[in-house]
């Protein structure tokens, strides 16, 4: 009886998603950073950063990333200084009480493309481009979702009413998205010579955004392996000790 009930419960839980509301499943991709020992591919992250800089950064902020963080994706301290110096940030007030512009330093955050949300909306037909730092964690199945969204632009099907200024996207909830298609073949020319197909660009920028969302992923995986090995040995020893101890008691 107990088995039947358990089996019924298990069957129910397994089939339950079938009842859930219809939703578009994103395309599945293999990611470098998945798996027990998953790591970021630094070359790929640098390509992704290039995509962010040349394509996304004109509208989307990366609030939680400072230039110094870029050392994590393989840039040297000096390279980071050069990258930072390409940006101007507001500092101050100086001794006269005036704010002033200066080149960014590694300790600065990547500057926001718009002074405020209102300006961001005004520049984007009323839509607010969201911050991307946490995007791959802020959506269900994030990396696959963002990848699919980048490549999901299509002609709206017949009879689909698209509001003015909106684009049709197969993977966006409701299919109407304010952001026009950004990623096409050869949209960027990669510094490392990689061929820039749309799929390649989307993959690279998603990998980069997963790094911005979860910068400690590599150390997490590495620590996890060590901790789990320790826990396993601890458990084996605890089991052997327990068995020897309880053997004193006889059969129970």
């Amino acid at each position: 009886m107990r088995k039947i009930v358990l089996a019924a419960a298990a069957a129910f839980i397994l089939t339950a998603p079938a009842f859930a509301a219809e939703e578009v499943k994103p395309m599945e991709r293999e990611w470098h950073f998945n798996g027990m020992l998953g790591k970021f591919d630094k070359q790929q992250l640098q390509r992704g950063f290039q995509v962010y800089k040349e394509v996304c950064a004109s509208c989307h902020s990366l609030n939680y990333i400072s230039f110094r963080n870029l050392e994590d994706i393989g840039y040297s301290e000096d390279q980071v200084k050069v990258i930072a110096a390409e940006y101007q940030v507001t500092d101050g007030p100086d001794e006269n009480g005036d704010m002033f512009q200066r080149p960014a330093r590694p300790s600065d955050h990547i500057p926001h493309p718009f002074a405020n949300d209102q300006l961001a909306r005004a520049s984007n037909g009323g839509a607010l481009p969201p911050d991307l730092s946490l995007m791959t964690k802020a959506r269900e199945d994030g990396p696959n979702y963002v990848y699919s969204l980048m490549l999901g632009y299509k002609e709206a099907p017949n009879g689909f009413e698209l509001n003015p200024g909106m684009s049709y996207n197969a993977f966006f909830p409701g299919h109407q998205i304010a952001m026009p298609q950004q990623i096409t073949d050869d949209r960027v020319t990669y510094a490392d010579g990689t061929k820039a197909s749309a799929e390649q660009i989307a993959t690279d920028v998603v990998a980069f955004l997963h790094w911005t969302a979860e910068p400690k992923l590599e150390v997490r995986h590495a620590t996890g392996v060590r901790v789990l090995l320790f826990a396993f040995l601890f458990t084996v020893l605890a089991y052997l000790y327990k068995r020897r101890l309880w053997a004193r008691l006889g059969k129970h």
């Binding site: 009842f19 969201p130 730092s133 802020a138 400690k216 826990a231 396993f232 458990t235 089991y239 129970h252």
Partner: protein
């Protein structure tokens, strides 16, 4: 050397005579606490719950050192913990997943008690203290989930605090008091943080009473019969060794999630900062509340829904008087055992319903599930107390019954 040792022993005895802390521990969870020798692995979950409570308090204290309870800074301070605080990501993931694992452990602990009749005489007060701990855990976890100030934090807080407005007459006043204003805002976050820090220590206090109440009758056991002194073994070293082994197994599961799926049990929307102007399409509480959320939404009337939701937990207080069958363990109650598993499956089904939109099939199933939940307690258990013929009980733990039990 020997004089040195005896001096140390003398000092220890001197101290013991004035504050018998060693003797206290030995009687609490040591060699002076006799436990039935037939406890199975389902009895490991009490010590695991204590372990999780301590883990939550330690990780929580370190998080509090780096957290800022202000609506404009809370989300950023959590991200700072994740990125710039030394091992902050580990402490936070241990804490956020720790909440889920604390509930997993406690749910198993509760269902073990339900199966083996651990709530029956003479353990009613012990059971009560357990229910109080569970209620405090629910309140603590709810307020903790608000602290990162993400979208689900904010909207979860809005939905749950609004429940109190269903109370006739004083409802709105209570909600204003909870919020510290006229909407969920900075005062709400501040008081939730203060209470989230306070309540775990209240839980520690009730855990002491829980263990105290345990020591009066001693542990129940899988047979549910009173254990004769000859059938008991000292807690230390036997059950300490068994609990340490169980802890190792548990840690492997817990750490596997912390290191490889730390966001599995969280809602992605909580990585979006709270925005009072944007309501998420689907507000869901954390998984451990889902069955109760389903009960709340199953009932079309707001007040009755709230009453049913709180009633579904409060009814546990009177469980010892609803189930008055003299036999404790479900092993000897074939009919009760069937309904126990149905009750468990029903709870899982309600949990699934709680995660869906309240319409169509999930709504119908939550209504059936809610009905069954209360039917089980109010009708089935009293009825079975009258009519169920138990299997023959063994005379003692060492003397298993001769009839071919399963």
């Amino acid at each position: 050397m020997s004089t040195e040792k005896s001096r140390l022993m003398k000092a220890w005895e001197w101290h013991e005579q004035r504050l018998p802390i060693g003797s206290f521990l030995d009687h609490s969870l040591g060699s002076k606490y006799p436990a039935p020798k037939n406890l199975n692995y389902w009895w490991n979950f009490g010590s695991l719950a204590l372990f999780m409570l301590v883990t939550m308090i330690i990780t929580g204290v370190f998080l509090a050192m780096n957290y800022t309870a202000h609506v404009t800074l809370a989300f950023n301070s959590v991200e700072r913990i994740m990125r710039d605080v030394n091992n902050g990501w580990l402490i936070r993931y241990m804490h956020s997943n720790g909440a889920s694992f604390f509930f997993i452990v406690v749910y198993i602990h509760i269902f073990r008690g339900l199966y083996y009749g651990s709530y029956k005489p003479p353990r009613e007060v012990l059971w009560w203290m357990g229910v109080v701990i569970y209620l405090l855990m629910m309140a603590t976890a709810f307020m903790g989930y608000v602290l990162p100030w993400g979208q689900m934090s904010f909207w979860g807080a809005t939905v749950i605090t609004n429940l109190f407005s269903a109370i006739p007459g004083v409802g709105d006043a209570i909600v204003t008091l909870l919020w510290g204003g006229f909407s969920v805002d900075n005062p709400t976050l501040n008081r939730f943080f203060a209470l989230h820090y306070l309540l775990p220590f209240v839980i520690v206090g009730v855990v002491f009473i829980h263990i105290w109440a345990l020591h009066v009758p001693g542990s129940n056991n899988p047979l549910g019969i009173d254990a004769a002194p000859a059938d008991k073994i000292p807690f230390f070293p036997y059950y300490v060794a068994k609990d340490v082994f169980g802890l190792g197994v548990f840690l492997m599961v817990y750490f596997a999630v912390v290191f490889w799926a730390p966001n599995m049990m969280g809602d992605p929307l909580n990585y979006v900062p709270a925005n009072p102007m944007v309501t998420p399409p689907h507000i869901v509480p954390e998984w451990y509340y889902l069955p109760f959320y389903a009960i709340l939404r199953a009932i079309p009337d707001k007040l009755l829904g709230v009453v049913a939701m709180f009633g579904s937990i409060l009814i546990l207080f009177v469980l010892p008087w609803l189930d008055r069958h003299p036999v404790r363990s479900a092993s000897f109650r074939p009919i009760f055992r069937i309904f126990f598993w149905i009750f468990l499956a029903n709870g899982l089904m309600l949990g699934w319903c709680g995660a869906q939109l309240a319409e169509g099939l999930p709504l119908i199933l939550s209504r059936i599930g809610t009905f069954w939940y209360f039917f089980h307690f109010i009708v089935l258990l009293p009825l079975l107390s009258w009519i169920e013929t138990p299997k023959p009980l063994p005379a003692s733990i060492s003397q298993p019954v001769l009839s071919p039990a399963e």
